[in-house]
């Protein structure tokens, strides 16, 4: 098993590391972009002082970058708030922004690619107009891209303010409109919690976890997304102590049609991180599993695509590619998918 997985499961493992093991483990951590996150894991376990000085220095140094991005995300949130003030449009913070805003420990050291927010479909046009008026621009101007987002996706084309570096993704759902699974956004809004910092909300705990699983398993590429699975693992650890959580989770999964990704997510967390999941919960999630052949195949491929293989083994390219195809298959009906893939194949390589 990979040394990184060993550390994520039981940080105490680092006590026995010699230099050769440290070198190997650090290469895995760097490759997964988890330096800052691992630094907090080791600090919480009281193990930072057991690390060799060079290792501690490197891990701690990477916190600055992550914290800088998190500060930029907070600034972007304030700007969004200002741009939407007076419109009365409620906004849900998704993923990392939500974890950070409600102060989950797992947000420490977590890197962000962009700011993800969600508004009700009926508010979308007004929200976009207000953001555009405040200076946000859309950079994907190709008419096909526009149509792709507007007609088929669960978000509008990414926006960015020219004076800042953070990309803003405005969603109106959590899976593409064309997806096989159709979680109803109204249900998400029913359980959303309003934050003191209006107009921001966060998803209910169960929905937050389900969104994390759906995003990992149904929305794009899974290869190299170990940090995405780590989010799910941490969310389970965060919410599992709440009484009745697992029962509510299964009910929500059923109502939101997100049972399948939940089933895969729980199984993968268990096999990669040895996450503590009550047997009843695993069994209950098992009712959402597909036929045994598909189940075994997807689990094997996903495990291969997610586990840290660098630097000792070749990347699981074929598994990653098959899962990429699967995620596209789930995103769109076959006719639309073939037209879309043909279009993308014929287009010249995208500008860098």
């Amino acid at each position: 098993m990979s040394l990184l997985l060993e550390v994520l499961r039981a940080p105490n493992a680092v006590r026995t590391f010699d230099n050769a093991r440290w070198n190997l483990c650090m290469r895995e951590i760097r490759a997964q972009g988890l330096c800052a996150r691992v630094s907090y894991l080791l600090e919480d376990a009281g193990l930072l002082t057991h690390c060799p000085e060079q290792i501690r220095t490197e891990l701690l140094a990477q916190r600055f970058k992550v914290e800088f991005i998190q500060a930029q995300i907070r600034q972007e949130q304030r700007k969004v708030r200002k741009a939407l003030s007076g419109t009365n449009i409620p906004v849900i913070l998704l993923k990392g922004a939500a974890y950070a805003q409600i102060g989950l420990p797992m947000a420490r050291g977590r890197s962000f690619a962009d700011l993800d927010i969600m508004v009700r479909h009926g508010d979308l046009e007004r929200a976009e107009t207000a953001l555009a008026a405040a200076g946000w621009l859309t950079f994907k101007i190709d008419p096909y891209d526009q149509r792709y987002y507007r007609r088929w996706m669960h978000e509008i084309p990414p926006m960015r303010h020219p004076a800042r570096d953070i990309e803003l993704d405005v969603h109106h759902g959590i899976l593409p409109l064309t997806s096989r699974l159709k979680p109803n956004p109204d249900l998400l809004w029913d359980q959303a919690t309003a934050l003191a910092m209006a107009p921001f909300h966060v998803l209910g705990p169960e929905d937050m976890l389900l969104h994390s699983a759906a995003h990992l398993l149904h929305d794009g590429e899974i290869r190299g997304e170990l940090s995405g699975l780590l989010d799910l693992h941490d969310l389970i650890g965060q919410f599992t102590a709440e009484p009745g959580f697992w029962t509510r989770l299964m009910e929500r999964a059923d109502a939101l049609q997100l049972g399948r990704p939940l089933h895969y997510g729980l199984s993968l967390c268990r096999s990669l991180f040895a996450t503590v999941i009550p047997p009843e919960a695993l069994q209950a999630a098992g009712q959402f599993a597909p036929n045994p052949t598909t189940n075994a195949l997807v689990q094997t491929l996903a495990k291969r695509a997610l586990e840290p293989r660098y630097p000792l083994r070749r990347p699981a390219t074929v598994s990653g590619w098959l899962l990429y195809l699967r995620s596209h298959w789930l995103r769109m009906p076959p006719g639309l998918l073939s037209a879309h893939l043909l279009r993308k194949a014929l287009r010249r390589s995208p500008p860098q």
Partner: protein
């Protein structure tokens, strides 16, 4: 994060011996606070690395490595006609390939990029640093202003070269850490240094790189031997090379020096308050000057006088 007792299968962790054996492949070298491992199939690159960094003691084979780099062959299809070199840091490929003959400048730029992106345990000033009698002269400047040339020349006349590119300020102690590296001399600077110091060890000229013609002066042995020895900042001089200009030294306001340094730093914004505090202390404790010069023969004595008067 909740973790249960290790999974039954985790108990007998098997890592192959090959993976844990101290790697015999690649070139291992120390540069200041960092240990770097370069793996490459190119023998000429390995020779150049040995020429540049291999004269002092080599780190132990099982040292902890901060920068694990591969310079690989590019696409096989181009191999026969225009072979390429590809820079890889861990599993990422941050740059476009270079021609194979430019593998050494590619490795040097790539390593700079890695340091600038990751070494946030330091406030990283974009500057050359030289030292004498334990007192460091910081020479911050934008590319093309001649700081590498000036630092290379000073290293030939009795100054210890800490770095031609990075002022690594430890933000806990305020001390400067050396980063002895090959000094890239560009275009006219190559002959300028050859004339100024005929004994200087200068490698081959790489023609028509991104930054024009480049030849590297290897770090002086003194710099390598004393690469763990920090220095206290004593004076900050912003140099600018202007052909045929006499030496002009002008005192610089602290506040202006602060903004120039911050603007030129690799990670000032990233470090936030830590950088603000450290940079403030730096400009308050070291006199700052603006320098214009046209001839190395004139400017070096002027800087020596300046350092003496600053000490008095």
């Amino acid at each position: 994060m909740i973790l249960q007792a290790p999974h039954p299968r985790a108990a007998n962790v098997k890592i192959s011996n090959r993976a844990l054996r101290p790697q015999s492949t690649g070139t291992l070298f120390q540069t200041g606070p960092f240990i770097v491992r370069i793996e490459t199939p190119f023998s000429e690159l390995r020779e150049r690395l040995a020429w540049c960094y291999g004269r002092d003691t080599t780190p132990a084979p099982d040292s902890l490595v901060q920068f694990q780099i591969r310079i690989d062959r590019g696409s096989r299809f181009r191999g026969g006609i225009a072979p390429q070199a590809v820079f890889r840091f861990e599993n990422s490929t941050p740059f476009q390939p270079f021609p194979r003959s430019h593998a050494f400048p590619l490795m040097e730029w790539g390593l700079n990029w890695c340091i600038a992106n990751r070494a946030h345990q330091f406030l990283m000033l974009h500057s050359a640093v030289v030292e004498r009698d334990g007192r460091a002269l910081i020479l911050p400047a934008t590319p093309g202003s001649g700081k590498s040339t000036l630092a290379a020349a000073m290293a030939q006349v009795g100054w210890r070269l800490l770095s031609d590119e990075f002022g690594l300020v430890d933000y806990q102690t305020g001390l400067l850490h050396p980063l002895p590296r090959a000094v890239p001399l560009k275009n006219a600077s190559i002959d300028l240094i050859r004339r100024f110091a005929p004994m200087a060890a200068i490698g081959p000229t790489y023609a028509r790189t991104r930054k024009g013609d480049v030849a590297h002066m290897r770090p002086p042995l003194e710099s390598l031997r004393r690469q763990q020895e920090t220095a206290r900042p004593a004076c900050i001089v912003f140099p600018r090379f202007v052909p045929d200009s006499p030496v002009r030294l002008q005192q610089q306001q602290e506040s202006l020096a602060f903004t120039r340094l911050a603007h030129n730093s690799f990670n000032y914004r990233l470090l936030g308050a830590v950088a603000f505090t450290q940079l403030g202390a730096l400009v308050q404790h070291s006199p700052c000057y603006d320098l214009q010069y046209g001839r190395l023969e004139d400017v070096i004595p002027a800087l020596e006088r300046l350092m003496q008067s600053a000490a008095a």
